[in-house]
Symmetry: C2
Subunit: 344 residues, 2 copies
Amino acid sequence: MQTGCEWLRGTGPDAEIVVSSRIRLARNLAQFPFISRADEPTRNDLEKLLYEKLQDLPAGPRLSYFDVRNLSDLDRQFLMERQLISKELADGEGARGVAVDQGQSVSVMINEEDHLRMQVVRSGFSLDECWKDIDQLDDAIEEDVTYAFSEDLGYLTACPTNVGTGIRVSVMLHLPALHMTKEIQKVLGALQKISLAVRGLYGEGSSASGQFFQVSNQITLGQSEQQIIDKLHEVVPNIISYERRVREALLKDNRAKLHDQISRATGILQKAQTISSEETMDLLSSVRLGVSLGMLDDLDLLSVNELFIHTQPSHLQKIRGESLDSGERNAARAAYLRLRLAEA
Amino acid sequence: MQTGCEWLRGTGPDAEIVVSSRIRLARNLAQFPFISRADEPTRNDLEKLLYEKLQDLPAGPRLSYFDVRNLSDLDRQFLMERQLISKELADGEGARGVAVDQGQSVSVMINEEDHLRMQVVRSGFSLDECWKDIDQLDDAIEEDVTYAFSEDLGYLTACPTNVGTGIRVSVMLHLPALHMTKEIQKVLGALQKISLAVRGLYGEGSSASGQFFQVSNQITLGQSEQQIIDKLHEVVPNIISYERRVREALLKDNRAKLHDQISRATGILQKAQTISSEETMDLLSSVRLGVSLGMLDDLDLLSVNELFIHTQPSHLQKIRGESLDSGERNAARAAYLRLRLAEA
């Protein structure tokens, strides 16, 4: 689990702006009640059944299973920071777990809000690849179980907002230039009008920090999976080219100021002795822009993408091998950044 | 003139707090009117006479003479930044000049507000050495000329505030800890009550920037030179030990925060692509504190003291060998700091 995430590689299409693409499917088994109505023995049965299915898929990736009940708080938070489990699964009760592939690209949560929440994440703007992988995974699981499905509505889910396709298609965008010039407000307004949701780096309820914006579909009903994916394929390239145009304008009119900001960000990250998560995100965002613009030769997108994740609280505690309070984490974060950025 | 200033060495007594000690004497020749009342030919005569005296002193340092009339604006500013001439001499009109020794410790202005303004500057808390040097210089000059002197009043000067001894005794203090904790207000209040003046790094009219405070006597009449020097000898050690106590308290209670601030300051100075004079002073002040506290091993007081002077506008233009506007200076300042601090 300490090895690198596939989706942090920073090498997919448009990876300097699209950090990652993600598709998740919500599925429930026909012969079981929804989780919210399932008693303890039913949940246990569900977990056992689904765990065994996942261990024995006819095709698809080899998955390692984590029984979330048995994990420490730190390990749960660690999986959350890797975006492999949701807060709901981490904080939940009873039988539940997650199956994860080697590259941490595929994860399948059991007994979250739905019986199954499977996701595929990939580096860059790669929704087609995500869809291919998750569709295969979904088919492989379905060979052996019967999903709760209605001819009229489609897949039935615990929350009505997921009924139909049960799909959420999202891309994580790094939009520092639109943020800097406040053009981002126009983008957010336009996305809202066409019913696309915008969240922060850590999903629902998190604000967009460090100039990262997660754009996803809100509608799951009345459209096919492909239509939903196509909508993002239609909209996201416009955001990408908008961000690129503003970057070019900044380079043309404010190159010195931009270079100064980016260069100072590296200086602070290389020298701080204590630093909060928020400030780290902001400064790394500038550094990431610098790498994208070719202003920082000795760093690459993978390294910077990793720093966003590795400087999260539970990652720092894993690295240190001990529990750290907020002040200790800020010191550990600064020490880790100094080490990693001195190597660069 | 490009060689180092003796007073920047950073090696005198208490040099981590007392940047430099300075004594200046105001003198006028008995047989000439004050400068404000001297016509052009008289000023010319004065300059010629005093220039020749200074070239031919029976004892004392070898002095190089600069005819300020013939200097470019840039060179005048350069001498001001080195604290070898006053703004009044730089901006004045008519015959005037300055004689400077090799180490830039001794300077004698001719035809400033008074016929002669001589000063000795030394690194650290070294008023006795300053007095010894300037008293010798004064005697050497007086062997051959007659000063305007009254038995009742003492030395007569153009401005009544200098009558008597014509002496100004000052020390440049670096008081970042007192500044940081706002204790400095108490010090400034106390100094005012005992008629000591506080100015900034660049004398009269300049505000105390970068946490540097120039403390000097205001009274020149009714006290001997030694009494005036003794007063500073009495007061300054109290300020020094106050600053030291607050530094110790900060180290005890806020070491991490202090280390963070100092370390970040070096990071910004090492990486900025454009930086104003004010921000440079503030950050260098933190770096200077870091060196004093032994937190920055690879820098010494001399280097930091020099950076304060070498990042001044005319110094940057001298280094670049061209005239620079404000934006260009900010870029040149950042480039110079990157170079010097990368060496460190």
